[in-house]
């Protein structure tokens, strides 16, 4: 239940608890998280946003302790936030402000001098794909533009870690893909740790290397996506142009269960640790697959399984 912690820890919590009245939003959370792209998964009301807010000191911690970037949350809040970016779930801009002014202002609030703030603001607006719209008032922006603006304000001061709360909410598929690609590049290309909170498994599957599953204020799973997928080996989705029936018949001969999915992919449960038997079969049939997706639903299955265990224990 723990990802690789040989790297210097970026988040460390001990018995982190947050209580709202009778409700325990976080229940003694112990975590050690190394830098990377981290997916924070959980159903609505699981405690994902509360976890982020406690780390950012937007919510006071009821008990326990938390360290972010090696600094104690609660005593070094201002210093921590200088190195941290945050995109909240809801809309939160300053009305009446023009886009580039807003991002410049956010950079200045993090301590950048005006000239540098203005230059960085334009660079980040370029980076998130905002064109001339940056000279318009934010009130007039579409949801997609506001999401980009939120991302720009979160990274304008060059943070070491960025918390993104439901970054693709309200976006169309194209907008979602663009935002996810940008977020993915932050860690992959520029080395900025990204913590993405989402209930959309597909988004997290696409961009995250580490997975933390939270439910009822408790951490149920913390592992790398690779390890989670390794646990769920034995199934694959094969994309072939034609000859679906021939492949399914061959699978049946091997005593593998196969199913033609509505999207045209064939799901094969080969029950092997490796994809080699499946590849050999395709080779024998002389079928050139367009794509093979190993363990296609590993994350979803892990997620559902973790939730079921959590429900059973309570």
């Amino acid at each position: 239940m723990r990802a690789d912690t040989s790297l210097p820890l970026i988040i460390e919590t001990k018995g982190l608890t947050k209580v709202y009245g009778q409700q325990r939003a976080l229940d003694a959370v112990d975590l050690k998280v190394a830098p990377g792209s981290i997916g924070l998964l959980g159903p609505n009301g699981a405690g994902k946003s509360t976890f982020m807010k406690c780390l950012l000191q937007l919510q006071p911690i009821t008990s326990g302790s938390a360290c972010l970037l090696g600094r104690e949350v609660g005593t070094e809040g201002r210093e921590i936030r200088k190195r941290v970016g945050y995109t909240p779930e809801q809309d939160c801009h300053i009305p009446g402000m023009v886009g580039c002014e807003y991002v410049t202002y956010c950079a200045q609030l993090c301590g950048l001098p005006f000239q540098a703030a203005r230059q960085r603001a334009h660079e980040m607006l370029d980076f998130v794909g905002m064109g001339q719209e940056r000279y318009r008032k934010i009130d007039t922006y579409s949801t997609g533009m506001k999401q980009r603006m939120k991302l720009a304000q979160a990274i304008v001061h060059d943070p070491q870690i960025v918390f993104l709360d439901e970054p693709t909410n309200g976006l169309d598929p194209k907008g979602q893909a663009q935002i996810l690609e940008l977020v993915h590049s932050l860690w992959k290309t520029y080395g900025i740790t990204v913590v993405v909170s989402s209930h959309l498994l597909h988004d997290v599957d696409r961009i995250c290397e580490q997975i933390i599953i939270i439910a009822r204020g408790r951490v149920l799973v913390h592992d790398t996506l690779e390890n989670l997928k390794a646990r769920k080996r034995g199934a694959a989705e094969v994309v072939v142009g034609e000859r679906h029936a021939e492949l399914q018949a061959a699978c049946t001969r091997q005593q593998w269960v196969s199913e033609l999915l509505p999207n045209g992919h064939i799901k094969v449960e080969h029950k092997e640790d490796s994809l080699n038997p499946l590849l050999n079969l395709l080779h024998e049939l002389k079928i050139a697959p367009l794509e093979i997706i190993p363990s296609p639903n590993a994350l979803e299955e892990t997620f559902v399984q973790a939730l079921e265990i959590s429900h059973a224990n309570t």
């Binding site: 201002r78 936030r81 200088k82 970016g85 300053i94 609030l109 540098a116 980076f127 520029y190």
Partner: protein, 331 residues
């Protein structure tokens, strides 16, 4: 295709200190209100009255010079009036420490009081832009996620209000004093009028602090941008209405008006009754005229409800602080 590099660039410059960040918030608040329709007209009005005040000081200064422009004008109007003015100027010339001090103290008392309602009105325009807007738009979350504390945020907002009052109130008062004494017949006017500017500074700065805190409290009351200025103006008008009524029924009710409380503090600082007494006792002719002031008016001027005003303003400030503390949170 972009003609420049649009990849992410790391930044390795030096950060500005926390005071710089607080000033950024203050500057942003001030700029927001100065972009609002009608504010520049108000600011202009305050500074024009400052010029008018300088002109009045020039005229008063001319009274202290034999054969000044004023004496010549008086002569053109009426020879008897010229005699009166000549007599007065002769005496005033001999006692500048009384004449300059007393005159300017009275003038600056009334000028400071004149600018106060204009400043309260201007502050009403700033009220929705101070905290209300940030609460309504959830911008408070953005502020809370940046490298500033809640105290830094509130200090920045306080400075916005303070700076606006500085432009509409303190600036014109100081400007009028400086220009008015610059055109006076003698450089010693600066020295003799030290009490007037000293009293003005103490009163105006105290008033600015009190009004800024009250405006911040009012701005935190609601998340509706139309409600908070309405509450602010209603409180002000309510105070104006209740003061004369309460004087004959429950005098303590007058302290519900911050305007009345500040008025009492002004009287305690400027002590106009003392100036009138000095004038009555020392200045020929004019002193005789001032003896006609009613005793009850003199009593009211001489015994301001200073303690009551201080307590009332302290309670209002405390309530504002509690409201701010309760309302200004990220969630």
């Amino acid at each position: 295709m972009p003609i420049h590099d649009i990849r992410y660039q790391h930044w390795e410059g030096a950060h500005v200190g926390v005071w710089g960040r607080r000033l950024v918030i203050a500057r942003n608040g001030l700029m927001a209100v100065l972009q609002t329709k009608g504010v520049w007209q108000l600011v202009g009005m305050c500074w024009v009255t400052g010029l008018a005040m300088s002109a009045v000081l020039f005229m008063v200064g001319q009274l202290l010079v034999a054969d000044s422009v004023v004496v010549q004008w008086a002569g053109n109007l009426n020879p008897q009036l010229q005699m009166f003015v000549r007599l007065l100027t002769t005496w005033l010339e001999q006692h500048p420490e009384i004449s300059v001090r007393t005159t300017q103290n009275i003038l600056f008392h009334y000028y400071s009081m004149y600018l106060m309602p204009v400043s309260i009105f201007a502050l009403g325009i700033l009220v929705p832009l101070l905290i209300t807007r940030d609460l309504a738009s959830n911008a408070i979350i953005i502020y809370s996620s940046k490298a500033i504390s809640r105290g830094d945020y509130l200090f920045g907002k306080f400075c916005s209000a303070f700076a606006l009052l500085g432009i509409t109130w303190l600036g014109p008062v100081c400007g009028a004093w400086f220009v008015g004494n610059l055109v006076a017949p003698d450089w010693r006017f600066f020295w003799h009028s030290r009490a007037a500017i000293g009293h003005s500074l103490v009163f105006v700065v105290s008033g600015m602090i009190v009004l800024s805190v009250l405006a911040m409290g009012m701005s935190s009351v609601s998340t509706k941008e139309k409600s908070t200025p309405a509450f602010w103006y209603m409180w002000w008008i309510f105070g104006g209405v209740i003061t004369p009524i309460a004087a004959h029924t429950q005098p303590w009710l007058r302290h519900l008006s911050f305007n009345y409380d500040l008025n009492q503090i002004a009287m305690a600082i400027f002590r106009p009754a003392d100036d009138i007494k000095i004038a009555q006792d020392n200045i020929p002719l004019l002193g005789d005229m001032l003896r006609n002031i009613k005793p009850e008016t003199m009593a009211a001027l001489g015994t301001p409800a200073f303690k009551g005003a201080i307590v009332a303003l302290a309670v209002m400030g405390l309530l504002s602080t509690l409201i701010i503390r309760r309302r200004v949170k990220p969630e």
